[in-house]
Structures are given as structure tokens and as C-alpha cells.
């Protein structure tokens, strides 16, 4: 049985079909990328999988259990954790506080215990603190842990966003355009980081525009265009797929202005 299963996912906005019957499986431990030209419906698909949007039709299953239609925080609790595009972090907290506060799952003390600072709550807090330091460490943010997030350089913020997601103990991490707006050197580092996350046993599903990074990092690629899946396969297969080339070239023709 596949780990995460996307089944006939469809989203309509009035007369517009943003995502049209998309199906694919994600296997445990792999890095799967969803790519497509601008406006192909990648972002909508991403929101549907994370349950930040309800599908018009179709469903998403994790380990055979339906997760689409659950509220976002419940989906996060099943282990499907998303990141955000751009620099979505808690800006008025330090890097460390950002990651500590993201440890909201698996506490042994309840709200009352937290209020009265019971021994269990203090143990929870210590564990979150240590865990957060470890996450910042392996993502290379240890040296800025006490810096307020809004003072951090742009490049660090995206990593911090991933650190926040890691604190929620994902089984599958959904990355929303993790390489957008990066120069080649930054992209290299980000690719290494995503591979490092996979080595920790976390499945990665990413939505991305940057073809080169995707070709390097992905085990498998799903291509969507105008809301529908047009191809699925290994990077080598996708590279030689005439339908994909056409979809991307058509796009290029327009943007270049031939």
C-alpha cells in the first residue's frame, strides 16, 4: 500500500477547474516533486493535500485513512506537515523560540498542567527546548538561534520555515517551492538540506518551478499542466517525455516572445 495517496483530486473555482482529477502515489522515504508551468495548479494542489483547502472532488489518504476534509491542524497531527512559500515564520520571536513553539504535539502535560507548571509540563518544555536546538543545529541555524526572526537575512527564513515544520515531527513533509528565488549556490545548499531531511526517514513531497533542482533531487516527478497530470516518472523519463517538453516549450515560447 502506498504511503500517501492522491485520488482524483479536483478543485473548481466557479467555472474554472484549477486542479482536474489528479491522482498519484507517494512511497515512503522518497522525494517526489510536482512540477508544472506557471498557473498549472501546483499551489492549489499543494493546499488541497495539506487540507488548507477542501477539494471539490477526490480525496487524499495517508496509510489508507482519508485526511482530506480534516481541518489543517488535524492533518498536521497525522504527520502531514507543510511549509509555506516565501518567508512565513513567527517574526517577533527568536529563531529558537520559533522552533520551540512549534513543538505542540506529543506533550504529556495538559493545559492545566502547563498553566500550573507541573513537573510534566516542565519536562515537556525541556524536551522541546533540546529538540529545537538539535533541529536548528542540523539545519545550520545554530549560530542565529537567539536572533529575532524579523532581523534574519532572507535566505535563513526559508530554512527556519522548514525547521518549524520539522518540530511538528512530520512523517511526510510538504515543501512549497523550496528553491524559488534562490541563486545556484543557495539552491545547492537547499538541495543538500532536503536530502538530509530524507535521510532522517522523512518522506518529502515538493512543489517546485525550478526544473534543474528538481531533476537532481527527485526520485520521481509528477508533471501537471492546466490542472491535469500529463506525466509521471523518474527524472530521466520526464526529461525525454515529449508531452512535458511541449508543455514547457509552449510556455517558453510565450515568455520569450517568439
Amino acid at each position: 500500500m502506498s504511503f500517501l495517496k492522491v485520488e482524483g483530486l479536483t478543485k473548481r473555482f466557479g467555472g474554472l477547474v484549477a486542479v482536474n482529477g489528479v491522482s498519484f502515489d507517494v512511497n515512503q522515504g522518497e522525494i517526489l516533486s510536482v512540477i508544472g508551468p506557471n498557473g498549472a495548479g501546483k499551489s492549489t494542489l499543494f493546499k488541497l493535500i495539506g487540507s488548507f483547502m477542501t477539494p471539490s472532488a477526490g480525496r487524499v489518504l495517508l496509510d489508507g485513512a482519508v485526511i482530506s476534509g480534516l481541518s489543517p491542524h488535524k492533518v498536521a497531527r497525522t504527520g502531514v506537515v507543510r511549509t509555506f512559500q516565501e518567508t512565513t515564520v513567527f517574526k517577533e520571536m527568536t529563531a529558537l523560540q520559533n522552533v520551540v513553539v512549534a513543538h505542540q504535539l506529543g506533550h504529556s502535560a495538559g493545559p492545566l498542567g502547563a498553566f500550573f507548571a507541573s513537573p510534566a509540563a516542565r519536562a515537556d518544555d525541556r524536551r522541546s527546548q533540546e529538540n529545537a536546538e538539535e533541529i536548528l543545529g542540523y539545519l545550520g541555524l545554530g549560530h542565529v538561534r537567539d536572533e529575532l526572526a524579523r532581523n534574519l537575512p532572507h535566505g535563513y527564513l526559508r530554512t527556519l520555515g522548514i525547521a518549524i515544520a520539522m518540530a511538528a515531527s512530520p512523517r511526510i513533509l510538504l515543501l512549497d517551492e523550496p528553491f524559488a528565488g534562490m541563486n545556484p549556490e543557495e539552491t545547492n545548499r537547499a538541495v543538500d538540506m532536503v536530502e538530509g531531511i530524507r535521510r532522517r526517514g522523512i518522506t518529502v513531497l515538493l512543489v517546485e518551478h525550478d526544473m534543474r533542482a528538481v531533476m537532481r533531487i527527485s526520485d520521481r516527478i509528477v508533471v501537471i499542466s492546466f490542472g491535469s497530470k500529463i506525466a509521471e516518472g523518474t527524472p530521466a523519463e520526464i526529461r525525454d517525455n515529449p508531452t512535458v517538453i511541449e508543455a514547457y516549450l509552449g510556455q517558453d515560447d510565450e515568455t520569450i516572445g517568439h
Binding site: G50, F52, S71, P72, H73, A76, R77, V81, R82, T83, F84, T88, V89, F90, K91, E92, M93, T94, Q97, V100, V101, A102, Q104, L105, H107, P111, A114, F115, F116, A117, A121, R122, D124, D125, R126, S128, Q129, L148, I164, A165, A167, A168
Partner: protein, 326 residues
């Protein structure tokens, strides 16, 4: 603003909780229990002003909790009215003791807060503020049209709390209530729950994405706030021995919010400092009453321009100024 004292601290209760609690509460306790009664001995009028300020501070502390989740709440007058009427009716019609009415007023306000808050808290920013503002007016109209014990919807001859006879008694009771409220909100703000509130204020979607049940925490904060408003209203009704629909109007709701602003939203002590500051200023400036609104307005503009993080941010500003000067 940079780091506030709260934000600079560690998350949760990593150091012995009871000692930190003592440090947090001791100066306020000495001020309320020793300094104020000593200075104001033989001045029942001023003691009464302080009693008012302590009760209002308790209500402002509640509003501070809704600020903590990033909502501008202009409904505290409605919940003070609700709590006041709960105590008024329970004590005059059913003969219940004030000491039972007080917690019951908090419970009723929290329940109504939960019911109203659940749908309303989806709104943010100016929309939430506007709806809470109209809630205050709606509550006034509700009591005006449903309570028929006395002309104009009032309830008179509300008994004083048993065992509390002199102005000093009432002051000490109000001071104790305020200390308990302060300790509760201080603990809430420093606990994991307070950090969840902060994360929600900064980005609700991100908070959701890490598994926080944002809707539930929002309602909890609002109900907590409403309970404090209800209890403040209950105390007031008992202190004044009467309540009318116009006892709390939109102006009062706005004032609760202004007290928080003036003191500083980053500090649990903020609403207390803001409330006492404005109430005392109001009393001192009684002689120029017709200019009071003008003065309030000017003061608020000045504070927002030069101290956007409230009076309590002054020390850190001065410290920074001092350091940069050397």
C-alpha cells in the same frame, strides 16, 4: 521595541515556578497592600478611586489576553454588564451570597463568550473590532428591554458582599482580586499556552500548520477574557449596589482597550499600569472635565506616536538611548 521582557525569556517554566511567581507579584502586592492604604489612610474617596481602578484593571487584564491572540476586543463592557446583571439578579431575586455570585458571573460570561466567540473569532482586524463594539451596544439594549425589576432596566439595592463593610475592606478585596487575576494571566502568558497565543497573533495559518487547534485556543482566550470582564462587572455592581443598562457603554469598552494600549501590550503589567494611570489622571483632572475627552484623545495620540509599545516600554527605550549615547 526589540525584545520585550516576555519575549526575551525562555519558553515555559524552565526555572522554579514558585520563585519566579513571587518575584513577579511581590512588588505589586507591596504597592497594593501596604503603600496605597498607607498613603490614602483617612481618605475614603481616594480609596474608592483605587478600588475602582483595581476592579477595572482586572477587566483590562482580560482584554489583554485577547490582544495576546491578535484580536482588538471592544466587547469587555458587554461582559462586565452581563456579569453585573448576573450578580444583581442572583443576589436580589434569589438571595444568593455575593461570594457565590462572583464566580457564577464569571462562568456565565465565559459561557456567553464561548457561544458568541466561536463564530465571531473567525473575523480579524477591524472587522472583529467593529463586531465586538456593536456587541456592547447590543448587550445594553438587551438588558434595557428585558429587565423589568425597575424603570429603565436597572436593578437597585444589590447587597454588599458579606463581611465587607468599610471602604478599606472593599479596597483590600479588590486588590486581592487584582493580584489573583494578575498572577493567573502572568502564568498563562509564560506557559506553553501563552506561547501558542503569541504564535497565533503572529501567523494563524502557520500556527495551524504545526498542529495547533487555532479555533479552540481563540475561543479559550476570548472566554477567559469574558470571565474576567464578568467578574469585574459583578464586583462593580456590588460596590455601587446598583446597575443600569448604561453602567457600561461603548465608551467603557473602548476604555478597557485604551488602558491596555497605554500600559503596553507586551507586558502583563501593562493593563494594570494603564488603568491606574488613566483613572488617577481622570480624578486629578476632574476640574477641567469638559476638556477631558480632548485631553484623553491628545494623550492617546501622543502615546501611539512616541510610545507605540506603551508606558512600560520606557525603561528599555531609555536604556537603549543611554547605551547609544556613550
Amino acid at each position: 521595541m526589540a525584545t520585550s521582557t516576555e519575549a526575551a525569556g525562555m519558553i515555559g517554566a524552565t526555572s522554579p515556578g514558585s520563585r519566579r511567581a513571587l518575584i513577579a507579584i511581590l512588588p505589586l502586592a507591596i504597592l497594593l497592600y501596604a503603600v496605597v492604604p498607607f498613603i490614602l489612610r483617612g481618605q475614603p474617596y481616594w480609596l474608592n478611586v483605587m478600588t475602582n481602578a483595581a476592579i477595572l484593571s482586572f477587566g483590562s487584564l482580560g482584554v489583554w489576553v485577547t490582544f495576546a491572540i491578535g484580536r482588538v476586543n471592544i466587547a469587555q463592557g458587554a461582559f462586565a454588564l452581563l456579569g453585573g446583571y448576573t450578580t444583581a439578579i442572583l443576589s436580589t431575586v434569589f438571595g444568593l451570597s455575593f461570594w457565590l455570585c462572583l464566580p457564577l458571573s464569571g462562568v456565565v460570561a465565559a459561557l456567553v463568550g464561548t457561544l458568541i466567540g466561536w463564530p465571531l473569532l473567525r473575523l480579524r482586524g477591524i472587522y472583529f473590532a467593529m463586531v465586538t463594539l456593536s456587541l456592547t451596544e447590543a448587550m445594553r439594549l438587551l438588558f434595557l428591554n428585558t429587565v423589568t425589576l425597575h424603570d429603565g432596566g436597572g436593578v437597585l439595592n444589590i447587597p454588599r458582599p458579606a463581611g465587607i463593610d468599610t471602604p478599606l475592606d472593599f479596597y483590600l478585596f479588590a486588590a486581592t482580586l487584582l493580584l489573583v487575576g494578575y498572577l493567573a494571566v502572568w502564568r498563562l502568558a509564560g506557559s506553553r499556552i501563552g506561547w501558542v497565543f503569541r504564535s497565533m497573533r503572529q501567523n494563524e495559518e502557520l500556527a495551524m500548520s504545526i498542529g495547533i487547534n487555532v479555533a479552540r485556543y481563540r475561543v479559550f482566550a476570548f472566554a477567559f477574557c469574558s470571565a474576567m470582564g464578568g467578574m469585574a462587572g459583578a464586583c462593580f455592581a456590588s460596590l455601587q449596589q446598583n446597575i443600569y443598562p448604561a453602567t457600561y457603554t461603548v465608551t467603557d469598552s473602548i476604555n478597557f482597550m485604551l488602558y491596555c494600549f497605554l500600559g503596553g501590550l507586551d507586558f502583563v503589567l501593562g493593563p494594570i499600569v494603564g488603568t491606574f494611570g488613566l483613572i488617577i489622571a481622570f480624578e486629578l483632572l476632574r476640574s477641567i472635565q469638559e476638556y477631558q475627552a480632548l485631553l484623553y484623545g491628545a494623550l492617546m495620540i501622543l502615546v501611539m506616536l512616541f510610545l507605540p509599545n506603551g508606558v512600560l516600554s520606557l525603561p528599555s527605550i531609555i536604556r537603549r538611548f543611554w547605551r547609544s549615547g556613550r
